[in-house]
Symmetry: C2
Subunit: 190 residues, 2 copies
């Protein structure tokens, strides 16, 4: 394997730094230092820190394992449960820090950058669509009540997850995960 | 009425500036300019920007009208509905910007300031407790199933609300409010 390109090193460092420190908390120099590249090389690859945040959000979205949600060889409700278990375990392994990069940059930057706001909107919409697939399957087979449209129920559950991360981040306990799993799998998808 | 104290002017400006720009986006000078006081006066009143953020979070929490949630003269489910309608209308009137100051500072600062993290935790816990009161009443009268403990159900609903604000902020549409009201009042509290 060849060395990763300088651009790729910058993107990976940006995902890590934006996730750990937020948009305003991570300077271009923090990111180029993290990437091990000269600060001066940054603008050869990206027009702005905002433009880099858009690419970082896409990259982060690709790490959410959304393809697993549409794997028809696995029971739809099991797919959904495993998805949120993956997200929970990832977050617990970070001692409840960092939350979700999409929710984090959305909260910090949606009002201040149309570029970032649009990337957040796209990221959430793709995630919602992936969650809606197994929900629609479970509704079609009659296992889940079809009182709420699958896409809208997916959106509600994703929003609830994003808020759950704010809560676990502030109290550093599993309590909000527990009630998320109880309500989502015990009531909404039961 | 006498003039408000300089400290009070700083607190009010801080609530506004932190809400509009976030913690890192709002500098001490932005806040003292907003308050119309000399920058040099800041440290006569607050030890740090973090200490000011703690007071701003308390002040913001007081503006959430939590006392209305425990007003036993109003039907408990109507109290809950009016509470979220108040929050929704406030947010809509700001063109979907700003979100919730508690969720915003939690997202941006919980990993970086124990002082702020503790104030966010306290703010969410007080809100959860206020929401749990009418839920417990509705459960006691048999109108809402008692499958989930009132306090935990309140926490889930508050987390869902915080995530809903991230979504409405990113797509600037009422869609996420609508599904929030549908699921919370049509399924969880039905």
């Amino acid at each position: 394997m060849g060395r990763r390109s300088m651009r790729e090193e910058i993107v990976e460092a940006a995902v890590e730094r934006f996730h750990a420190r937020g948009f305003n908390g991570a300077g271009v120099k923090d990111i180029t230092d993290g990437a091990g590249v000269p600060k001066g090389s940054f603008y050869n690859h990206f027009e702005s820190k905002e433009a880099l945040a858009v690419v970082a959000l896409e990259r982060y979205g690709e790490s959410r394992r959304l393809h697993e949600l549409t794997d028809a060889s696995v029971d739809p409700l099991l797919r959904l449960r495993r998805h949120f278990e993956f997200l929970r375990d990832e977050n617990t392994s970070r001692d409840f820090t960092r939350g979700c990069l999409i929710g984090g940059l959305g909260t910090e930057m949606a009002d201040h950058s149309d570029l970032i706001r649009e990337a957040v909107r796209t990221g959430l919409a793709g995630w919602e669509q992936a969650l809606a697939a197994p929900i629609a399957e479970a509704q079609a087979s009659g296992r889940v009540a079809a009182t709420t449209d699958a896409r809208m129920l997916a959106r509600f559950i994703l929003n609830a997850w994003e808020g759950t991360l704010i809560s676990t981040r502030s109290d550093r306990s599993e309590d909000s995960y527990e009630v998320f799993f109880d309500v989502v799998f015990g009531t909404l998808l039961a």
